[in-house]
C-alpha cells in the first residue's frame, strides 16, 4: 500500500491563506469602525457632550481674575509696566542690616515708590520708577532715586528685562548706590484652577552689579557681577510663596492679594535668612498696587 502524505496540498494551502487574509481584513475593519464610532452615541450622550455646564453663580462673577501674588520680593523680574500702566508701593524693614560685621542691627527703615510704563510690552516697553528712600525721619523725597527698566514679554510667556536701579539721584544721595542688571522671568500656569496649590510657578534668573554683588565684593569695591534669582508658587487664589536670592542673601516671603477687585499686593517676609550677608534674619514688608487705569475703573464697576 502506498502511503499518502497527510500534509495539505498546494490548493488547500492557498485557500487557507486567502481565508486568513479575509478574516484579518474583517477584524481590522471592525476595529476601525469601533474607533470611528464612539460607544453609547445615543441622543442623550450627544447632548451631554455638546452641553456646557456652568457652575452656580457664574454669570455674577467678576470679569477679572485676582492679580497674581508676588513673584519676587527683593529682586527685579523680567516683567514690568507698559503703556497705560502705573504702580505705587512701599517697602519696610523692621531692622536694617548691621553697619559693621557682627554689630547690632540698625533701626527700622522704609521707602516708597511710584512709577509708570511706556511702550508695548510685546515689542519693547520701559518702566520708570521714582523712589523716595527717605520717609518720616528725613521727610519724603529728600533722597530720591530714579530707576528704569527696559523689558519685553514674549508670546511664550517669557519676560526679559534690563535696567538700572537708582540710575539718577534727584537730591541727596543714599547709601545704596546704583545697580545695573538683566533679568529673565517666566510664569508657568500649571492649572487654570487658581485655587489649587502650584497652579502657577514663577522663576527669575538674573545678574547684575551694584547690590547684586557679594557683600565681600561690595566692601572691597570690586567691580564684579553677581547672580540673583527667584522662585515663586501660588498656593491659593489669594496667596503664594516666594524665595529669592538677591546676590547677597536669601529672602523668604509670602505673597498676598487679599482683594479680587483691587490689585493690592502685600508681601511680608524674612530676609538675610542664611546670615550670609547680615548677621541676623530681618523682617521686611512690601506693599503695592499695579494698575491700568482703564481696567481699574472697569474692575471697580464690575465689583460694586
Amino acid at each position: 500500500m502506498t502511503y499518502r502524505s497527510r500534509r495539505p496540498g498546494r490548493r488547500t494551502h492557498w485557500l487557507l491563506l486567502a481565508l486568513g487574509a479575509l478574516a484579518a481584513q474583517a477584524v481590522v475593519a471592525v476595529a476601525a469602525r469601533a474607533q470611528e464610532t464612539p460607544p453609547n452615541l445615543n441622543a442623550d450622550s450627544l447632548r451631554a457632550l455638546y452641553t456646557i455646564v456652568l457652575p452656580p453663580g457664574f454669570a455674577d462673577r467678576s470679569a477679572f481674575s485676582r492679580t497674581l501674588p508676588a513673584t519676587n520680593a527683593s529682586t527685579p523680574s523680567g516683567f514690568g509696566a507698559a503703556w497705560g500702566d502705573a504702580f505705587m508701593g512701599g517697602g519696610y524693614q523692621r531692622n536694617t542690616r548691621a553697619s559693621v560685621p557682627g554689630g547690632p542691627l540698625g533701626r527700622n527703615d522704609g521707602a516708597v515708590v511710584a512709577g509708570f510704563g511706556l511702550g508695548n510690552r510685546r515689542v519693547l516697553a520701559a518702566e520708570v520708577a521714582f523712589t523716595s528712600f527717605s520717609t518720616f525721619r528725613s521727610g519724603f523725597f529728600t533722597r530720591t532715586g530714579v530707576s528704569y527698566k527696559l523689558h519685553r514679554q514674549f508670546s511664550s510667556g517669557w519676560g526679559l528685562a534690563a535696567g538700572t536701579e537708582t540710575a539718577f539721584v534727584i537730591n541727596e544721595k543714599g547709601d545704596g548706590g546704583s545697580a545695573n542688571y538683566v533679568a529673565l522671568s517666566r510664569v508657568f500656569t500649571r492649572s487654570q484652577n487658581t485655587g489649587r496649590p502650584g497652579s502657577s510657578i514663577g522663576i527669575t534668573v538674573g545678574a547684575g552689579d551694584g547690590r547684586f554683588r557679594s557683600l565681600a565684593d561690595v566692601r572691597a569695591n570690586r567691580k564684579t557681577i553677581g547672580v540673583f534669582g527667584a522662585v515663586s508658587a501660588r498656593l491659593t487664589d489669594a496667596a503664594g510663596v516666594v524665595a529669592d536670592w538677591n546676590g547677597q542673601d536669601l529672602t523668604l516671603s509670602v505673597g498676598l492679594v487679599p482683594f479680587r477687585c483691587m490689585p493690592l499686593s502685600i508681601t511680608p517676609g524674612i530676609t538675610d535668612v542664611t546670615r550670609n550677608a547680615g548677621n541676623r534674619p530681618r523682617m521686611m514688608l512690601g506693599m503695592g498696587m499695579g494698575v491700568n487705569p482703564r481696567e481699574f475703573r472697569a474692575r471697580l464697576r464690575d465689583c460694586f
Binding site: L49, T96, Q192, R211, G288
Partner: protein
Amino acid sequence: MLRTFGSLVRAVALALLVSPLSLVAQTGNGSDVTGPATTGSTTAGGAFVPSPTAPTPVPIPPAGGVPGLSIVVPAQVAPLVTALTTAGPLPVGSVPGLILVTISPEVGSLVVQLAANTSPTAAAQITTSLSQQLSVGANASVSAAINTLLANMGGVLANPTPANIAQAVNALNQLVSGAPAGYLASPPPALQATLLLLNGLAATVR
C-alpha cells in the same frame, strides 16, 4: 530672542555711559537696597505678570470674503483662537469625548469674527452653515435657537464678561437640547467651533 537680549544689553551699556552714579559704591549698611525691592514694580506683586485673562492680540486671516484683522482675546483662549483660524491642531482634550469634525480655517475664522464682533456678514454665513443639516420645515424651534445663539455670540469674545459668556452658553445649550440626534451626530463644523470657543471662554472665568 538673542537679538532682543543683545539690544537690551546695549541699552544697559548706554545707560552706564550716561548714568553719573554707575560707579557709586554701596556704602554703610546699604539700607536703601537691603530690604524689599523698591526701585520698580516689584512691590506691585504680579500685577504685570502674564495671566490667563491678560489681553492678547491674535491675527485672524481673511475668510469667506471677510478681510483678515487682529483681535484682542484673553490670553488663555489665544491658542484656541489661533488653532480655529489656521490649520493648527485643535485642543481635542478641551471637550473630552468630543469627536471633532474637520473645522476649516474659513469656518473657524467666521465664528471667531462673529464672536469678536468684527464682521457683520459672518452671522449670515454661519447661519447657513448651522442650518444646512436640519430637515426642512421640521425644526422651526431649532432654527429659532440658532438665531438666538448667533445673536448672543456676537461680541462675546470682544467683551468676555461672565454675564455675556453665560448668555451665549445658555443659547448654545438651548440649541443642543432641541436639536435632533442626527444633527448632533454629524454636526456642522461651525457648531463644533462655537462649542470649543465658548468652552474655552468659560474656562477663563472658572
